[in-house]
């Protein structure tokens, strides 16, 4: 029985590879061991690019960044809930907590190059939303520019 032909179809897991090496060792089959080791080496070499790809598969300009109001992983999934909650608080009750506010998001995450979260393909809001194909209409009314910069531009 050729061990390799059976196993080659499911060499996706490192555990399978380890099993192959052990079996090859037990059967004193050097070929199998070498093949398994080669595949493992290849996988290990590929790891960095896989990790990078899993983090952000698109280019993203996070602007000034820094300490976010919540954990970034949580924010990636739930920022819309914070925004929709605070929008009602602000508009109807006048609770203007600067910490959780769209203006504050923009303050930190507007690009340091053009002071905007929406100006370019890799801008903070655009990059993710384009990748996920989620159309947002926040910026049809809201400004995507830092307030300080907006004031400078409209000082006349």
């Amino acid at each position: 029985m050729n061990l390799m032909s059976d196993q080659s179809l499911r060499i996706s897991s490192p555990v399978v590879l380890l099993q192959m090496i052990v079996r090859g060792y037990l059967r004193m089959d050097l070929k199998v061991i070498i093949r398994a080791l080669l595949v493992m080496c290849l996988l290990v070499l590929c790891m960095p690019s896989v990790w990078a790809a899993q983090d952000t598969p698109y280019k993203l300009d996070i602007g000034r960044g820094g300490q976010c109001v919540r954990d970034p992983v949580w924010m990636r999934k739930n920022h819309m809930h914070l925004l929709i909650h605070q929008r009602d608080e602000v508009v109807h009750k006048g609770i203007r907590d600067d910490k959780i506010s769209l203006k504050n998001c923009i303050e930190c995450h507007a690009s340091t190059k053009d002071d905007s979260v929406i100006a370019r393909e890799d801008s903070f809001c655009v990059a993710c939303h384009r990748y996920e194909a989620v159309k947002i209409d926040c910026f049809e009314c809201h400004s995507g520019t830092r307030k300080s910069v907006w004031l400078q531009r409209n000082a006349k």
């Binding site: 109807h92 600067d98 203006k103 400004s143 830092r146 307030k147």
Partner: protein, 238 residues
């Protein structure tokens, strides 16, 4: 015994002070930036008293200030937003003419709120009548209901809005009494800009406020008071 207490107290004070100095720089800067964390209350009712006898003919400073603050184009076409207008009135029989600024009157019983089908038009607890543009579908029923013609509809896409004043195509808008400035403890832009100080802004419910005192002493009217809407804007000299 007292001595020990005092020593302990001063020790605690110093150590707290030291801790504050070491921890504070970052925290304090962050804290200063915080806005209000309390909801507006109905104990306050914002309003204005406009002295038309002081309002100069041909002066449009309030309109200009409003346009600049809220990012309006300043155009006068039927499709351009106008949050505040200067109106010249002439009493034909007597020949007396005068001018006054007219804007959303921030009624206590606003008809625009009554007719809004989505709940976008609403009155804030402190008496400011606003449009929640997140909910506005642009039906313009409120514009028809308003007896003061105070509301405008945004017909064209807008760009480069004031970060504090979001405005956008397809929604109805009107004077917000500069709600973003009020929440920051400032006056509305028109009241601040008036060269003759003809626009007095303040809390109608506070008996000691300047506006309440003046309302007690001078004759003033609300426009179309016959409608029983109890507007927050009062006029003197008409």
């Amino acid at each position: 015994m007292n001595d020990i207490h005092n020593q302990r107290r001063s020790f605690l004070k110093t150590s707290l002070g030291v801790a504050a100095v070491t921890v504070a720089p970052g925290l304090l800067l962050f804290d200063v930036a915080h806005g209000k964390s309390e909801a507006v209350s109905s104990k306050v009712r914002w309003g204005m008293l406009i002295d038309t006898t002081n309002c100069a003919d041909g002066c449009h400073d309030c309109v200009t200030a409003c346009n600049k603050e809220n990012g309006l184009s300043g155009g006068l076409a039927p499709t351009d937003s106008q949050w505040i207008r200067k109106i010249e009135i002439k009493d034909v029989s007597a020949g007396r003419s005068f001018a006054l600024p007219m804007m959303c009157q921030h009624c206590e019983e606003p008809p625009c709120v009554d007719v809004c089908p989505t709940g976008a038009s609403f009155k804030r607890a402190d008496g400011i009548v606003l449009v929640d543009k997140h909910r506005c579908i642009g039906c313009r029923y409120c514009m028809m209901a308003c007896p003061y013609k105070a509301r405008s509809f945004v017909h064209e896409p807008l760009h480069n809005q004031n970060p504090d004043v979001p405005r956008g195509k397809g929604t109805v808008e009107s004077c917000t009494l500069c709600v973003h400035r009020i929440d920051a403890g400032k006056q509305p832009a028109c009241a601040e800009a008036c060269p003759n100080k003809s626009i007095l802004f303040g809390d109608l419910n506070d008996r000691n406020s300047e506006i309440a005192k003046k309302l007690r002493t001078v004759a003033s009217v609300q426009v179309r008071s016959d409608l029983g809407l109890n507007p927050g804007i009062h006029y003197q000299g008409i």
